[in-house]
């Protein structure tokens, strides 16, 4: 009886600890919300325009985040996941569009506009200085000045 009890106890002990070891060797892949959001914040769902995927509360976006979780668990990298979404839904899902085609204007026009603004501001400053300090004093001939003064006096008398 004791032998039977001892044998059962050994079997239970061995089975318990070996199964624990096995589960410890192959832990289920865990993906944190932070990992998902790090990718989601760089994506936009076309349904919810102007709302980044990490903060969007619609069911469509929830499904997308679920897909990111799935891909991360499968070992996809951030870039691979972003590329997957581009392949599925087009370039417009990216927060920063790729610099090609018309998109290139997004990267060229703002810096050019800023440079043009700085240059214009500089020009205004320079021109302003020049007008404050007259470069040359233009001499008015004294005969003209006398004629002007007499006309002015006459005008004042008539009033």
């Amino acid at each position: 009886m004791f032998r039977l009890f001892r044998g059962t106890a050994i079997v239970v002990f061995v089975l318990t600890f070996t199964s624990m070891r096995v589960s410890a060797q192959t832990p289920p892949p865990t993906v944190s919300d932070d990992q998902i959001n790090a990718i989601a914040e760089e994506l936009y769902c076309p349904v919810c325009e102007n709302v980044p995927l990490d903060v969007c509360g619609t069911q469509a976006c929830e499904q997308w985040r679920g897909l990111i979780r799935e891909k991360l668990a499968q070992g996809y990298t951030k870039e691979e996941i972003k590329q997957y979404f581009v392949d599925q839904y087009g370039d417009r899902v990216l927060a920063a569009p790729p610099a090609k085609g018309f998109n290139i204007l997004v990267y060229i026009v703002p810096p050019l506009a800023i440079l043009a603004g700085i240059y214009s501001f500089y020009r205004i400053l320079i021109t302003g200085k020049k007008t404050v300090e007259p470069q040359q004093k233009i001499a008015i001939p004294s005969s003209d000045q006398e004629e002007f003064l007499s006309l002015l006096e006459e005008e004042l008398k008539n009033r």
């Binding site: 349904v47 499904q63 897909l67 204007l105 040359q136 233009i138």
Partner: protein, 190 residues
């Protein structure tokens, strides 16, 4: 480029003149930018497809792996339905669309195409299974098809006659099977 002028006191005065090519370049750049901006604005405000428009060139890869394009639809009434698994109103018409498809399938004069808009594949497949949808369905890869149709949301259904001219647009779900059949019958002919 600079030029020199003489003022009344006889002193030389320097005059700075911007070169002509510089002015032209600035104006050309501005005009080109405004044209691009205008075209983009026009495109976004173009609105949806209108009755009388022709079926856009489409290539749909179905969940079964088939590829369907315009050549496969020649001489048939085409019913194009945009849907999504996350779209609740789409569920209202899912069963009716399937029933209508089964009704017309044997005639071989009508084609139903389901296009999953901004959807994820596992959820889209689950949706099709839930409503036992058997007509060709596929993901709108790169949102190319929905862009060509200029859809405003889901569900939306476009019905083209046998010459592939758009005859009917349903924004939102069909109210009944009878409504859907009445429209298809109109363009099916004898």
């Amino acid at each position: 480029m600079s030029d020199q002028l003489t003022d009344q006191s006889g002193k030389l005065k320097s005059l700075h003149i911007r070169p002509l090519w510089g002015k032209l370049l600035i104006w050309f750049g501005l005009v080109a930018f405004l044209i691009i901006l205008g075209l983009a604005l026009l495109r976004t405000q173009q609105g949806g497809m209108a009755i009388g428009d022709v079926l856009p060139n489409l290539t749909l890869t179905t969940f079964d792996g088939q590829t369907i394009n315009n050549n496969d639809l020649t001489g048939k009434v085409v019913v194009v339905n945009f849907w999504a698994s996350w779209c609740k109103p789409c569920e209202q018409e899912a069963a009716e669309l399937e029933e209508a498809w089964r009704y017309y399938q044997s005639t071989e004069k009508v084609v139903f195409l389901g296009i999953a808009y901004v959807d994820t594949e596992p959820e889209a497949r689950a949706y099709l299974q839930k409503y036992q949808i058997s007509y060709p369905n596929g993901l709108d890869l790169g949102t190319r098809i929905s862009d060509d149709f200029r859809i405003s949301g889901v569900p939306e259904t476009y019905i083209f006659d046998r010459d592939h001219v758009l005859q009917f647009i349903q924004i939102g779900p069909f109210q009944s099977l009878a409504q859907l059949k009445a429209v298809v019958d109109t363009y099916l002919g004898p």
